[in-house]
Amino acid sequence: MPKLTSIGAVLAACLLSPAQAAESVTLLKDLSSALSVLGQPCGPVLSATRQGENDHVVTCKDGNRYRVFINPQGKVVAQKQ
């Protein structure tokens, strides 16, 4: 049964609409650009894990990991992990 659930999860993931996939790519590019604007070494962002509203932990191509979030003052902050 757990195996079936796992397969179901994979199938569900594969059925992700192109729009959603494009949105994900857009987010990764956005996070990559934001880190670049903030002057943090990163290169392209390979993956992002959502922690909360406007809060992501990203993995960069160069191996760096950052928590990118908007603080209560409305500023974009990149914290190295």
């Binding site: 059925l15 992700l16 650009s33 903030l38 392209p44 993956s47």
Partner: protein, 219 residues
């Protein structure tokens, strides 16, 4: 479909607990073709006039051999057209046909530059602000990061103007240029028209920011 699979593969490998589709959860992984951060300013490079054509000497030679009238007028098109008729020698004909595009190229490159200068708009800050807010070329995080930096820069200008030390405003030229460069660099691929507008407005914006009276009127 494939992008969806590719973007979620690690999540599905990591744990069996991820039952919900990844769009609803949290993990996003880049497709292999995710681009690097935007490069420098190609439009600026494109706006520069094309270098002078190097192979001018062979052209002149071919012209002299082929038809002296055409070389006197300096028009490439009629010469290329007439060359096969007047020249029985295949060697000269080949020279003329090879040389023709080299002469025609600078004329083509020069024309858009003139048009661009005519079309250069006057500074319209609200237009630029609206354009930056509405463009999809920059994501929300990046826009906010840029706005944060702009706010910081404006605070520095304000502090400089309040202290009455006018020459110090010149010291802010470098961060100003850096910020404009970042914005235009980010816009270059997704919204080149807006990038060009901002680049053209650079001096106008600087004139407002560096002048205490003008700065006061806009803030």
């Amino acid at each position: 479909m494939t992008a969806g699979c590719a973007s979620l593969t690690p999540a599905s490998h990591e744990a069996d607990a991820h039952v919900v589709p990844a769009a609803a959860t949290s993990s996003i992984v880049a497709a292999p073709d995710v681009d690097e951060a935007p490069a420098t300013l190609p439009a600026v490079a494109a706006a520069k006039p094309a270098p002078a054509p190097a192979p001018k000497a062979p052209v002149a030679k071919a012209e002299a051999k082929a038809e002296p009238k055409a070389s006197a007028t300096g028009q490439a098109a009629p010469r290329a057209k007439a060359a096969p008729v007047e020249q029985p020698r295949a060697k000269v004909e080949a020279k003329a046909s090879v040389a023709a595009p080299a002469v025609a190229e600078p004329a083509k490159a020069a024309a858009p530059v003139v048009v661009e200068r005519k079309a250069e708009p006057s500074l319209n800050v609200s237009d630029l602000t609206t354009g930056l807010r509405q463009t999809n070329a920059i994501g929300a995080f990046t826009k906010l990061a840029l706005k944060n930096q702009l706010d910081d820069l404006l605070q520095k200008f304000q502090a400089t103007h309040q202290s009455g030390q006018q020459p110090r405003a010149a010291g802010l030229r470098q961060p100003f240029d850096a910020l404009v460069g970042k914005v235009t660099g980010l816009l270059q691929s997704g919204d080149p028209v807006l990038a060009r507008k901002i680049e053209n407005s650079r001096e106008g914006i600087w004139a407002i920011l560096s002048d205490p009276e003008k700065f006061k009127s806009v803030t």
